[in-house]
Structures are given as C-alpha cells and as structure tokens.
C-alpha cells in the first residue's frame, strides 16, 4: 500500500482528536454571550481603533530572504543524499552553489535590509 496513504490517515486522525476535544468543550461549556464579554480584549480598556493593525514592512523582507533559502533546500537535499557516491567535483559544485546563495545574503546585509530600523 502506498505510504502516503498512511500520512493521509495521520492527517485525518490528527484532525479528529482536536476536533473531538474542542467539540466536547463546546458541548460542556456554558453559552452566555454578552456584548462586554465578546468585545476585543485590550487590557480592560475600551478597544481603540482597528483590530487589524498595519504591520512593519520589515517582516516582508525577511520573508523574501527566507523564500530564497527555502527553495534552495530542494536542490541541496538531493546533493547531500548522493554526496557519499559523488567525487570532489560535486562537493566543489555544491560549495559554489551555497556561496552564490550566501552572496545574496551578504548583499541584503550590505544594503542594510537586515537592520531592524
């Protein structure tokens, strides 16, 4: 049987358990909503302004840098798996590949994008 079927079963069972726990909680708990109780929590004072605040653009840059490294792992893992059978040429090739990536990181760094301004 396909092993991914088991992984799929894990997904299903992994959802059943929390759904069951939350469902039991939903059945057992009291339900007495009122406007004060349901208002957004803000340390006891009346909520001011929007709940969805603007976020810092800096997060976006970190996410972009992450994306580059994350995609690269797709190329590096097969290289690491077969490294034992490959010669010195493959090692040097892999090192050059990583160095190109690190060059991107260094560029980001030099541009001051890694500073939390």
């Amino acid at each position: 049987m396909n092993e991914w079927l088991y992984v799929g079963l894990f997904f299903i069972v992994g959802l059943i358990i929390p759904v069951g726990a939350i469902g039991i909680g939903f059945l057992l708990g009291p339900k007495k909503p009122n406007p004060i109780k349901q208002s957004t929590y803000e340390c006891g004072i009346e909520p001011v302004g929007e709940g969805w605040v603007q976020f810092k653009a800096q997060y976006y840059i970190f996410a972009l840098v992450f994306l580059v490294f994350d995609v690269e792992s797709i190329f590096l893992f097969p290289w690491a798996v077969r490294l034992g059978q490959l010669g010195m040429f493959a090692v040097v090739e892999g090192i050059i590949f990583i160095l190109i990536l690190v060059a991107g990181l260094v560029y980001t760094w030099r541009k001051g994008m890694l500073e939390w301004a």
């Binding site: 088991y6 057992l28 708990g29 009291p30 929590y41 992450f66 798996v81 990583i98």
Partner: protein, 398 residues
Amino acid sequence: MNFWNDPLKVAADWLTGIFTGWGMNTVVANVLVAFLGILMLITILMVIDIFLVWIERKVVARFQDRIGPNRLGPFGLIQPFADIIKLMIKEDTTPDHADKFVYNIAPMLSMMSVLILWAVVPLAPVMLGVDLNIGALFIIAAGSIGTLSIIMAGWSSNNKFSVIGAFRQVAVMVSFEVPMLAVLLIPTIFAGSMGINAIIQSQNIWFVWLSPLAAVIFMIAAIAELGRAPFDLAEGESELVSGYNIEYSGMKFGMFYAGELLHAFTFGGFWSIMFFGGYRFFGLELVSPFLAIAIILFKAMVGYWIIMWVKYTVMRIRIDQMLAFNWKFLTPVAFVLVMVTALMNTLLRGAPSWLFITGMLLSNVIVAWVSLEIVRSVSRKERERVEGPKQVVAEAHH
C-alpha cells in the same frame, strides 16, 4: 514471530484476519487496521501530552524554587486532569468581528501539525511508522503548518496584540527554519539518505560526535521554532499579554497549549533521532521493541528537559536581536558548517573511523571557535563605537 518481538505486526495480522473474516475487502481491512493503529499512537501521544503538562509545571516550579502542583494525587499527578476538566467546562467565547471559520480551525491545525510529525518517527526497529524516503523534509514541511495555524489564529482574532504576536512568531519561525534546514543536511550527508530510519541505522557512532556544532544549532533553531524562551517574544507577557492566542478560551486555548508542549517533546525526539541515535542504544533496541520505545521516549524526554532548562534560565530577547542573531550569525555559521562537512566527508572517505571522527570533530571545533572569535571582535568594535574607547581605570598604588 511472536508478540514480544513484533507486537504491531502480530496485532495487525490478527485484526486483519478478523476483519476479512467478516467478509471485508483486504484493502479496506488494511486501511482500517492502519487507522486503528494511528488512532492508538495518537491517543498514547495525547496521554503523554497530559503528563507533559505536569512535568512542565513541576520542573518550572523547581527552577523557580517552588514545589509546584502537589495537592491532587501523589505528587500532584492528577492536576493535569483537573486542568483539562476546567478547560472543557469553560465558556467558548468568540470576539466581535472575528473571522469565525479561520478562528475555529486554527487551534485544530496547531494540534494536527504536531501529531502528523509522529508519522515519520520510528519507535523501534520493527515499528517504523511511515518510513518516508524524504523524512527530513517532511519534518520541515509539517512544521510549517504550525506556522500557518499561528498566523491564522493571530489574524482572525481581530485583536491588536494577537496580530502583532502572530507577525513576530511567523518572522521567527521562517527565519530559524533556514539554519534548521542547513543543519539537517549534515545527518543527511553522513547517512546518505533523508529517511529517518536510514539516519538512525547509520549511527553506529552518534552523529553528535561527528558534528556537535550541528546538534547545538539544531537545538537553538528548534527552540526558536517552538517559540519558547528566549525566543518567546510572540507571547511576551509584559507587552502583548499572550500573543496570538489571546482571544482563545476553553479547549481551544488548551489545544494551543498542549500542542506547544507536545511540539517541544517532539523536537526533543527529533534531536535525539538526528544526533543521538534515536531508538539505538548499544544493541539494547534489538532485545525487545518495548525497550526500544522506552529508549527513544527517554531520549526525547532528555531533549525536552534541555528545552525546558533553556526556557527557564535564559531571558527573553528583543525581535531585532533575535533576527540579527539568526541572519548574521546562525545562518552563515550553519552554511559554513555544511560546506566544511561536505568537504571533510569527501576528503576523509575511506579513512579509518578514528581518523574520520577526529577530523570531523576538529573541523567542528574550528568552525565554532572561529565564528565565536569573529562575533567577539565585532561586538567589541560595536561596544567601543557606542561607549567610546574602554576606560582604563588607573590602579591605585599604595
């Protein structure tokens, strides 16, 4: 083949026999048996999770010079059950203008992302779980669902604190995933496979002796992924009150809490699998599968204990410090380590094992020493720039 040598297979054959005896299709019977097995594993995990609550509370109490829960049952062992009952009979509130669907599904995803990690954990030589040939990548991929659940929870709650907490947590998680991916390459290089069981089987020498620096970086990245102190600023009590889970109550909050504890335990397990031989311990794992399970759970508990030790010892750091620590220190060091390991692995191929271990260990020590030395000199320059040159206090002569 008896029950004590391979309990899972004996039980599965027995159940499959029963189900096919009822006139069920063989494939359906197999799927049903697998379903029951997974249900059993996850139930056991949930029970472990309940006791993790107790362990966590007891350990934090000891670190803070308190006694901890001690009223209910011997050593307060019943306390977590009382906690669960309390969480279950709490009112389940939803804040105004919350995105209901996303808000409700986030805690379930949070728990699920942890539980599916155990699909690839081999508990014993005969209980491999799902032995995926891309196990190392599966760990990272499944962990990303946890990131997703946090941003869902933070965004859907319609609360300033939760949105800010979620952004911080996601920034931390995506950042520290990079060094974690890099150091996962190192066991992959040594084992020549991404499969978790292949990695365990090739650890005749624990990989921590070949690459202690990789083990340390993996642990730091794991702690950051878990969002635990010193990287727990997503729930910094003094500024964000509780972070992304601020509006959750009752069992939904319980799911986040239990998921976090089980996640820490799971990463303790992965630490032991990647660097400490998983279920292997000087051939003891071959004696009985039950002993192998005990070994891997013990090792996972040791990893979990280290995570707790760090959590209750180290102070929380700021987000700029944390991101700088990751991108300017941990990521470059991890990639340098990968390059050095690849190079040494090829250079020392065919060398006797003592030479291989010494060479690897030495290269790790050199990488660690050089990187710490660079950090020291840079931070000295930075300190002098901020504070001016160091004041030399004239020594008083009598």
